[in-house]
Symmetry: none
Subunit: 406 residues, 2 copies
């Protein structure tokens, strides 16, 4: 069994770096604060006797040697970058749970046949730089190192320059690194476990995701003198599409999701009929055929809206990954460890993307969820219970040992 | 007859200050560019022999003395501030038409019995600071100088500080200034004159206006893991209110108007369900009873939406003025001048608010409209024909002379 207090203390220590007044954390990828967080975790790893390597996209691998160093490592990990108004647990928990597994094995003097590795991946959140889940995406070849390097934040700073600046541009070529199996612990970021009063979520799969930018172009005109019948109001037309995004998701329960999260109105003046509206669309489903049906229905609705309204409507897909079912061996290992330890449990499909979906392209992978308060994440008030975090870490310990062999 | 070429040249000269790439003007109230525009117009006034006074809210009065200085002046005016993506004519035409009337009388050596004044009023547009038509509103006592001074832009800068900064906080107490009659020339900002192929719009009345801020508060949460049924999506709820604003206006043709022009979404992130949405509502009608019915229907819809959705919805009225019928004497003077000059004409109800509605609280007032291209205003592509602008200015000349007596 792992040491829950030590895990909690490490989480609270790391959360001080970038702490916000409302109890959250703002530690955006490749900022000075990210460097400080990375240095702290790497320091802890060295204290625990781990060897540390960094790859060219800044992914960090902290290795505990096995009796048979030629075996591919059993890996766990997550990320330590946060949302602009993020919490203490999203990502950080997965990294520090891995460290706690190693510390526990050290305490008990337990060696494993296969090596163990704890990884943290660069820019999972995608808040400062797109694409999201950048480090693990480059690692598994979902997109190239050059694409990632070229990404820029809103101030025009590039991933390449910022990575070099904070001293985390390593030498290792991303992905030249066999993996035996990959596990990731994470807070659920949704309300399912808490509602069902369960401690451990076994994650059979992660939903696929499609992201779009939609631009509706009308004609800006004065809100007073322009008769209702002569308007080309880009916002009014947009509202019907925004509603359809939710209606489409509701047609495909229980795993359809549809969200419009970002909206910009031009010129955004009280007495001007909006001439242009830009907004994001986020569609998800755990079934790729249904995700594709949702995609088609949305495009068809936009076509109808375009001809009904006479306004120009542009729609562009800006991100996509298919649903990711996890490997039966890893899902099984999580399920068995949970049963052995006697925690209440249920299956929870992940609605959020995780580095595990990219790791899953290279090796058998699985995830372990624990509840978070009110299902809230991507919010400074994100919270989780210490006993739940401990339970998830115990499951991780046993699942990893099952794969690494004592 | 006035000099149409000189009027056009002055309009084009003023339009250089804050000129935008698309041929429009961005010269927001109390910015450095506003100061530059003010300085240019004041310079022209001095060249034309006018005396200039500035009041405490920055309204500028440019006076041509009459044979009888104790008579209240016959005034004309408008504004030179613009929308963020505004045109060259909105407001500026009314001010420079007044200046052209004076220049013409100077050329011809014509004196008037009553003094003439050309005014430009501070922050008519209401884009940077609310309330709209601020200078004329303070002048007529619609709201207090303190209210106006306290208004802040989105960066937190106040009217008081910005007025002092650009050097246009005058000494004169606003409103201590009798007026004999007030005329304002303006582009129509709507399509009615152009559709009917008429040159001069005689304006019997201006629609009343009600402005609101609406804030819908839900719960921000992750767009992936949060099931559709458990969301408190502030944007989705907002879209139904946004649509109702237009539906209400459509129920009261031909003079009902409903517009949502400004929207802010928080936190405005692609994968976060919006926790809060703020938007503006603009309702208008030329009949105060109908405007009130529209107001009541909107509040009732918001009440129903609040209880149906369970979300908190705040609605606050931030501006209101009732419909303003103009004075028969001034409407008559415009009608007669138009007939005498032989221009084609029709009556046009103004959907836009104008400084004239506040001036109308202190003196008989009337307005003269000329067509603008495609009825478009509050847009960089706003355009008007030089011969139409000249015609409107000729009508202004004759209407003012009729009231001021030669
Ligand atoms: N876990 C997480 O927040 N990932 C970001 C990508 C997503 O929106 O699912
Ligand atoms: N003329 C004009 O644009 N006035 C601003 C107030 C309004 O929205 O009507």
């Amino acid at each position: 069994r792992i040491n829950g207090e030590r895990l909690w203390a490490s989480l609270m220590e790391l959360a001080k770096i970038g702490a916000t007044p409302k109890g959250g954390v703002k530690r955006l990828a490749l900022t000075d604060l990210d460097k400080e967080g990375r240095d702290l975790v790497v320091g802890w790893a060295r204290e625990a006797g781990l060897s540390v390597t960094v790859d060219q996209i800044g992914n960090v691998f902290m290795r505990r040697e096995g009796r048979n160093p030629s075996l591919p490592p059993i890996m766990t990990g997550s990320h330590i970058d946060t949302q602009p108004t993020g919490g203490k647990f999203d990502g950080n928990y997965g990294v520090l749970a891995g460290l706690e597994v190693v510390r526990t094995l050290n305490d008990q003097g337990i060696a494993t046949e296969a090596p163990l590795e704890v990884a943290f991946w660069t820019n999972e959140e995608g808040s400062r730089f797109v694409p999201v889940m950048m480090g693990s995406g480059v690692f598994c070849g979902a997109f190239s190192l050059e694409t990632a390097y070229a990404a820029r934040d809103t101030e025009g700073k590039s991933v390449r320059d910022e990575l070099a600046r904070i001293g985390y541009m390593g030498e290792q070529v991303p992905g030249r690194h066999p993996i035996g199996a990959y596990f990731e612990t994470h807070i659920e970021q949704g309300p399912v476990l808490e509602d069902a009063d369960k401690v451990i979520g076994v994650v059979p799969a992660v939903m696929g995701l499609s992201w779009y930018d939609c631009v509706v172009s009308g004609m800006e005109a004065h809100a007073g003198p322009t008769p209702m019948g002569l308007r080309k109001d880009a916002l009014q037309v947009s509202t019907y599409i925004m509603q359809e995004v939710v209606k489409i998701a509701n047609r495909y329960p229980p795993y359809g999701r549809g969200t419009v999260g970002m909206v910009q109105v031009f010129p955004n003046s009280r007495n001007v009929i909006p001439g242009e509206v830009k907004f994001s669309i986020d569609l998800r489903n755990v079934n790729d055929e249904l995700l594709n049906t949702m995609h088609e229905e949305m495009l068809a609705f936009i076509d109808r809206t375009r001809s009904d309204s006479g306004l120009a409507i542009a729609i562009e897909r800006v991100s996509y990954y298919p649903p990711c079912p996890f490997h039966p061996d890893c899902v099984g290992a999580v399920r068995e460890a949970t049963a052995k330890l006697g925690y209440s449990t249920m299956d929870v499909v992940s609605g959020a993307g995780h580095d595990a979906i990219y790791a899953a392209r290279l090796a058998p992978a699985g995830m372990i969820f624990v509840p978070c308060k009110d299902g809230i994440s991507h919010n400074e008030i994100e919270d989780a219970r210490s006993d739940h975090l401990e339970a998830g870490c115990n499951v991780l310990l046993h699942a990893m040992l099952e794969r690494a062999k004592i």
